[in-house]
């Protein structure tokens, strides 16, 4: 299995995402924002960071990168696509996922170990979890507050499209404690916390992040 990891100017967690892919047993392929070529990968990760300095709006400029045209086309055909943090912001800006990520309600960047509850275990990136499972992975962002209109929120809730929720105090003001969502088809997932930083207890708070990366392998094998 080959999983692409995109680097935009200002991307930071690309090497971490690639490491997580390797830990899961797949091959990580780096993709450059300026190249429209996906190098035949089976799935793509948009990692965290501050692409284009988060200027204008987080993810707003990256979504127009040449590589995104091809990624959007493939995702619409069912290719698994995971956006982490800044990647989630790009997915919303690209309208692959509904809603938007806005400034944390306390206005600070916040880096902490965060407990999440996995709500959806049918998406391409969460099938190796059990429903209701609580995990601890790092959260680190300044603009992680998930916002959308009431109608969209109802749609997400009613169709089991909320992938994970924050447990305990709301860290950033997200509606309904949303930490991650998926599209209707379940192949595109956006997640604000960082599973790629929880794959080894030497460097992270747990290994709870790994199933995100093994799930997609299961999904691809089953195809």
């Amino acid at each position: 299995m080959r999983i692409g990891v995109v680097t935009f100017p200002g991307t930071l967690d690309d090497r971490d995402a690639a490491r997580a892919v390797k830990y899961a047993g797949a091959e990580a392929v780096s993709l450059w924002h300026g190249d429209a070529d996906l190098k035949g990968v089976d799935a793509v990760i948009l990692p965290g960071g501050f692409s284009y300095g988060d200027y204008l709006r987080c993810g707003a400029i990256s979504r127009f990168a040449p590589v995104m045209t091809e990624i959007i086309a493939q995702a619409n055909k069912g290719m698994p696509l995971l956006g982490i943090c800044n990647g989630f912001q790009v997915l919303c800006e690209a309208h692959l996922l509904p809603g938007a990520l806005t400034r944390n309600h306390e206005l600070h960047f916040l880096c902490r170990d965060q407990t999440l509850k996995i709500e959806n275990t049918t998406s391409a990136w969460t099938s190796n979890f059990t429903k209701g499972q609580e995990i601890v992975i790092p959260l680190k962002n300044g603009e992680g507050s998930f916002q959308c209109d009431d109608e969209t929120l109802k749609l997400l809730e009613d169709n089991n499209r909320i992938v994970a929720r924050y447990v305990g105090e709301n860290p950033n003001g997200s509606r309904n404690l949303i930490a991650g969502i998926t599209n209707e088809r379940g192949n595109v997932v956006g997640l604000m916390p960082h599973p790629e930083h929880a794959i080894d207890s030497l460097t992270g708070p747990s290994t709870d992040g790994l199933p995100f990366f093994t799930s997609v392998l299961t999904a691809l094998v089953g195809k």
Binding site: A60, I61, A100, T102, R103, H105, S145, Q147, D149
Partner: protein
């Protein structure tokens, strides 16, 4: 040189923590009149010569796809 101004504001229903922080700070400084504050963005786009209606229309398109995120923001475009 003409100037086209684009004002971008969060939609009223979207939480604006920055505006809220400003609203909370005003009374602390003795400014007690404000019932609400919303913070937005302003773009100034400079063009050669006077602004044409066609340029306004182009900027409106640009605002729709790039300068504003219609999911959470509204915008206005005008020549100045």
């Amino acid at each position: 040189m003409g100037k086209i101004v684009v004002d971008v504001m969060l939609k009223p229903e979207i939480l604006d923590p920055q505006g809220k922080a400003v609203a909370a700070a005003l009374p602390r400084l003795g400014f007690s009149f404000a019932t609400d504050v919303r913070q937005g963005k302003r773009f100034e786009i400079t063009v050669d010569g006077d602004v044409t209606p066609a340029q306004i229309a182009e900027v409106e398109k640009a605002a729709e796809v790039l300068l504003a995120n219609p999911v959470i923001e509204t915008f206005t475009v005008r020549a100045e």
